[in-house]
């Protein structure tokens, strides 16, 4: 797994990370670099600092503290020596890099008429590793399919951060696109899938081409705002299923209803601990008032203990999956 982020790190940091033992590296979720503060890793739901010799330590004194030089080089590498070409990303606070990893950044905000224009003096980085887990959705996909129409239900995936939302819908996209649900892959059953990938996390497109396997009948609108992207999809790409990540704004809810009225199935995700959590969000309330979703998937647990619960439109539990295929990384 170190190779996955190796190209992002300057030599010194790369060496320290590469000295970690295999099992930790395999579970690595986040690498946090803060100027003059301990280098931190998060793996399997736990955190630890890293010493200069590459060992794990919980004492901040023994930990390696990246200096200004490390941070500047890291920023240089992440932005391909061209900070100016990431203005939009700097405004939003994160950069998606090759491999689909997301680098969150912290610094000083520069305002323009009260709106954040960009971040400068960047001194904090959070490298979140993206992982492609083929088969992450296989445990539950059958319960999401509407057998009468041979098509997926309108589905909302609810989960706190880091529980594998994006991984799950990426795999749903692949399965639908290949028609690989039920009794194995059946030729001619795949559907047209459209992914609106506002944060470039689902497909991890580089120069417009997905680097993760999202299926052969899948179109990806990369870095496109969700609401607008969904409308563009409906108008021009004629998808049968639209997949979007992290809905939350009023426009998103409207666009989803629009898509449903156009006869398109929608798979979306939202941040939340449980369904009630999401229902309380005022901007998403219309979706629940009209009870448009007929399946809810609630994810919980990180690292090796992950659970997927599937509810139907009336919030009755249909399936609870906690198998190794889901948790096994």
């Amino acid at each position: 797994m170190p190779a996955a982020i190796d190209h992002l790190l300057p030599d010194r940091l790369s060496r320290i990370v590469s000295l970690l033992d295999r099992s930790t590296l395999d579970m690595l979720e986040e690498l946090r670099i803060r100027e003059n503060r301990p280098l931190e890793v998060i793996f399997g739901g736990k955190y630890s600092f890293l010493s200069a010799a590459g060992g794990l330590t919980l004492s901040a004194e023994q930990a390696y503290k990246p200096d200004r030089d490390d941070c500047l080089k890291l920023l240089d590498l992440i932005t391909n020596h061209s900070l100016y070409s990431f203005e939009e990303e700097l405004r939003r606070g994160y950069i998606t890099v090759r491999g689909g990893h997301r680098v969150g950044i912290a610094g000083r905000a520069v305002l323009d008429r009260g709106q954040v224009k960009l971040l400068r003096d960047i001194s904090g980085f959070n490298i979140r590793l993206a992982r492609e887990v083929r088969g992450a959705a296989e445990g539950i996909i059958r319960t999401l399919i509407d057998p009468a129409e041979g098509m997926i239900h309108h589905t909302l995936v609810v989960s706190p951060p880091q529980c594998g939302k994006t991984t799950l819908i990426r795999d749903i996209a692949r399965i639908l696109s290949e028609g690989a649900w039920g009794a194995g892959r059946q030729p001619g059953r795949g559907v047209k899938v459209g992914i609106v990938d506002e944060r470039s996390e689902i497909a991890a497109s580089v120069a417009g081409v997905p680097t993760f396997d999202v299926g052969s009948r899948t179109d990806v609108l990369d870095a496109c705002p969700k609401a607008e992207g969904m409308m563009m999809m409906i108008r021009s790409l004629s998808p049968q299923v639209i997949i979007v990540d992290e809905i939350g704004r009023k426009q998103d809810a409207e666009a989803i209803q629009e898509a449903m009225h156009a006869g398109i199935r929608v798979v979306a995700t939202a941040h939340g601990r449980d369904i009630a959590d999401v229902q309380r969000r005022p901007d998403l309330a219309p979706l629940f008032a009209a009870s448009v979703f007929s399946r809810y998937v609630v994810l919980s647990g990180t690292g090796r203990s992950r659970r997927q619960q599937v509810y139907d439109g009336e919030l009755r539990l249909i399936r609870l999956a906690a198998d190794k295929a889901v948790a096994g990384r």
Binding site: P10, D11, L72, K73, D76, H81, S82, Y84, S85, E87
Partner: protein, 172 residues
Amino acid sequence: MIKLIGALMVIGASTMYGFYRARSYAERPRQIRQLIHAVNRLATEIGYGSTPLPEALGKLSRQMHKPLDRMFQEAALRLGRERNATVRQVWRETVDRYWGLTAMKSPEKEAFIELGSTLGVSDRDNQLRFLELAKTQLQHEEAAAREEQVRFEKLSRTLGVLGGALIVILIY
């Protein structure tokens, strides 16, 4: 006879040296002009295209003449694969390496290296401002170089021939 051949060789050599000096006086403003073009193009790439720096420099290198093309090419290549140096370092090292091959002198070199320490580390508006600054400095040096060219280009040619003649007269 041998004396005559020797004399001709001395005059020939000093004339060539004179022409060589004259050429470098003529080359300098031309190369500075090229740098200014490069800065302009870079401003377009950064301002309108948001092109990443390695790619922008690669494009530039294909539009430049010798020997500047190699300088930009190497900078582009190194930025593409360098994992452990900032633009500032790569830029300075590359300029240092190739500057000897050009006819340019230290004032424009300073201005150009200064530009390298600002490239890629700020937002677009800021980058354009730095590029504009570098352009102004280079234009200033270009004017100075042209003045020198007018004054010294012919002079060095004449001095070359005459210097040769003088040596011949003295030792003949």
